[in-house]
């Protein structure tokens, strides 16, 4: 049985027509299932766990990146394939997984190309895409062996795919290799007008980020604050449904 988790915003009037098309297409493909609508004071994760106990075979998120983040923990814990039907703005995860927006996503879902991917942990919080820290005093310690610091303040990214708030997602890390990729981009001035980005790339299994003051770390687009962040990987923890156009 397919379990569809609808985000609150897709129940808005402006998505009514698109949702009707999606529901019709799912019925045509024979993969319609139980619908759970997210709402205030309703824990989507708990509902996924309950439905898994009742025999759900696939969890499908209908919404955007933030909707996926809300049920990521539960989907990984119950070990069910996770599908996405991207609706509305901010759907970078779906793009990385090769899932087109709206009704076309139903066909990708029906094809059931399942990949197992790694997930990351930032201070115990699970992430799929990556972590981004932008602070001049942030220092990265890789595998407890060496410290990496940008000399003029750069942006530290820990990529399983690529952080969803990253400026570009042309260069996506492989989420199936059992490694995270630490990236530090430092801009240096070359001549009067030109600036060049120098990109450091380090494969890591675990790392930590420290700063002398409280800093913000963006974990799959959600902000966390602290002076110390532990990062690790859970190899091949999550099953996801992907399209042929996936970017990794």
């Amino acid at each position: 049985m397919y379990l569809y988790i609808y985000d609150e915003f897709v129940q808005d009037k402006k998505y009514q027509r698109e949702m009707a098309l999606i529901e019709n297409r799912l019925t045509d493909l024979g993969i319609a299932g139980k619908v759970v609508r997210m709402a205030l004071f309703r824990q989507a994760g708990e509902q996924v766990r309950d439905e898994a106990r009742r025999g759900a075979s696939t969890v499908v998120v209908v919404g955007n990146d933030q909707t996926v983040c809300k049920i990521l923990d539960a989907a990984a814990d119950v070990d069910l394939p996770l599908g996405i039907i991207p609706v509305g703005p901010d759907n970078r995860l779906a793009k990385m997984f090769g899932i087109p927006e709206g009704v076309s996503a139903c066909d990708v879902l029906s094809a059931r190309m399942i990949e197992r991917i790694d997930t990351g942990l930032l201070n115990g919080k699970r992430f799929m895409a990556g972590v981004r820290v932008e602070h001049p005093e942030a220092v990265l310690t890789c595998e407890g062996q060496y410290r990496v610091s940008p000399d003029a303040g750069g942006c530290i990214e820990i990529c399983n795919l690529v952080p969803i708030d990253s400026e570009t997602y042309d260069d996506i890390a492989d989420p199936r290799d059992g490694m995270l990729e630490a990236r530090i981009d430092v801009q240096k001035r070359h001549g009067v007008f030109s600036k060049k980005v120098h990109a450091t790339r380090l494969p890591i299994r675990f790392a930590s980020i420290d700063a002398p003051v409280n800093i913000n770390a963006s974990c799959d687009g959600q902000l966390m604050q602290g002076k110390h962040f532990d990062i690790s990987i859970e190899p091949l923890k999550l099953k996801v449904i992907t399209g042929r156009e996936r970017l990794f």
Binding site: Q145, Y146, R147, V148, S149, P150, D151, A152, G154, D174, I184, V186, K188, H198, A199, T200, R201, L202, P203
Partner: protein, 129 residues
């Protein structure tokens, strides 16, 4: 050894320590590594190493093959071929099976060769030191 596209970007999953970044501690890698920044501590690489002309390394370095264009202050042990470019400056002992030194390179230390197989010894070339 390393693949770069027209824009100089590196592909193929290599480890890169770029300009503007400082690494302190025991740096190890099982793959190929490009160093263009600053490293202090020790460097142990199972694959190939490229040291860019802006790189400054204050560490003992071990790698399979190495191409050096920057500064290394420390001993270098390369199991196969070490290529010292015209802009390279080495202050430390050098051990390699095959050594190639370009005009302009500077080496201040002992150079030991011949650790490889007998077949390799015949191929050893020292152009200039």
């Amino acid at each position: 050894m390393f693949k770069r596209d027209e824009n100089g970007a590196v592909h193929g999953g290599e480890t890169v320590i770029a300009q503007g970044v400082k690494v302190e501690g025991d740096f190890t890698s099982s793959g190929n590594v490009i160093i263009e920044g600053e490293v202090a501590g020790s460097v142990k690489i199972e694959g190939d190493l490229r040291v860019g002309d802006a790189a400054r390394i204050h560490a003992d370095v071990a790698a399979r093959n190495a191409v050096v264009a920057g500064e290394i202050e420390g001993n270098i042990v390369v199991s196969e071929k070490l290529d010292l470019g015209a802009t390279s400056k080495v202050a430390g002992d050098v051990t390699a099976s095959v050594l190639e030194v370009a005009a302009g390179a500077s080496v201040n230390g002992r150079v030991s060769m011949g650790g490889g197989s007998s077949k390799r010894k015949k191929e050893d070339v020292v152009e200039e030191s």
